[in-house]
Amino acid sequence: MVRKFEGLPRELIALRVARELEDGTYVNLGIGIPTLVSNWIEGRDIILQAEIGMLNTGPLAEGDNIDQDLINAGCQPVTELPGACYFSDFESISMIRGGFIDVAVLGSLQVSEKGDMAGWFNPERGFTGGVGNIGGSMDLAVGAKKVIIAMTHLTDKGDPKIVKECTYPLTAKGVVKLIMTDLAVIEVTPQGLLLKEVAPGVSAEDVQSVTYAKLIISPNLIEIGL
């Protein structure tokens, strides 16, 4: 599939996600584009949780600020903000699975029109028997009050990631509430995928042309505000 239009850069997908987050919430950011969201929430009243066992993670650490005993789930050196606290991974995942995370922003390889997500296992890696890197993804997907997927609309090879049914192994069923890509903001509703916002210069038809699932065009469709 050849795309004839440009989407938002990764940093601006992250900015749009950041605008979606409410003050006074606890948020977990996955690896990839979700991690970039942290650049846009500095100074806001949002507390980031890291599944390694930390609340109130600060910006990435650099130079002399790097502490090998202080990393995020993506193994990046980070800093702590005032009011941070540390705990075991057991406590951390208990917290996630127990429903204390208001929003999990995750990447995914595929998302279905029913809100299923498939993000942990790329069959192209060629393993069999269901072994692969699950990490905390399944716990976050079932545990967070709201799951937002932040990803590019298409794979590097140009395949649509938003599909009618996931063909890759699932992370969780029916958990995704909102999909934010370089091209669109799409809400998962009981009626199907509701296209609510499109990137500048991109039409609803453009988005549909690179989406395998049928989109419902919102009567209030707007351009993604940044």
Binding site: C75, S88, N133, G136, K173
Partner: protein
């Protein structure tokens, strides 16, 4: 009770072939590297490792793979994220060659299984993994209208854990995110061996800040702080 061993080699000397060993640490962070290195020197074979990953941040675990000491790995994130890096990893090669068996669980299930093992709980019901490949072969049950999987306890013969401070009675205090899996792994093992950066006398730790009570720790050994730059 003085649980101090003179060195890492003495602390792992009696580990027999066929043992199961839980190894703390999240990638490079809070990993008891000197104990893994001692295990490579010691040479026990046919081991089952229980640890987050066998790829990134695991040069020393790779050495165990190259030594052909590993039979099985129980993990939640075993491989390199990147297929390119993965294809160069001794562990991934061994898995593809069918030389090492791998069992993977979601992170929360992985650590909850160890915690159950250490606390006398035989099994538990978690919502994580329902509707996915993880549920394969497992009992499903509905509670209050939601599906859960039954997962069983996991125990092991040894645990290698890491702590910033520890006293001779085995009480351990971790630092920042280096705590991670270490406490629950210590509980799941028959023999827990702790590598500590700062070895203190009883009474020198703040008793309200002990993350791993000494009852869970059978051996303590002082090590130099491993040096690494966090990265995948």
């Amino acid at each position: 009770m003085n649980k101090v061993f003179p060195g890492v080699d003495e602390a792992v000397a009696d580990i027999p072939d066929g043992s199961s060993i839980a190894i703390g640490g999240f990638f490079t962070c809070g990993t008891p590297v000197p104990l893994i290195q001692a295990l490579a020197r010691q040479g026990a074979k046919n081991l089952t490792l229980i640890c987050q990953q066998m790829g990134p941040g695991s040069e020393d675990i790779n050495q165990l793979v190259l030594n052909k000491q590993i039979r099985k790995a129980i993990c939640n994130y075993p491989f390199y994220r990147s297929a390119t890096q993965g294809s160069k990893s001794p562990f991934e090669k061994a898995v593809r060659a069918g030389e090492i068996e791998v069992e993977v669980y979601p992170m929360g299930t992985f650590i909850e299984k160890l915690r159950a093992g250490g606390s006398g709980i035989a099994a538990f019901y978690t919502p994580t993994g329902t509707g996915t490949i993880v549920e394969k072969g497992k009992e499903k049950r509905v509670f209050n209208g939601r599906e859960y999987l039954m997962e069983t306890a996991l125990k092991c013969d040894y645990a290698f854990v890491y702590a910033y401070q520890g006293d001779s009675m085995g009480n351990l205090t971790c630092r920042k995110t280096a705590r991670n899996y270490n406490p629950e792994m210590a509980k799941a093992a028959k023999v827990t061996i702790a590598a500590v950066e700062n070895l203190l006398k009883p009474g020198e730790l703040n008793p309200d800040m002990v993350h791993i009570p000494g009852i869970y720790v059978q051996r303590v050994v002082k090590v130099a702080r491993p040096q690494y730059v966090p990265s995948l």
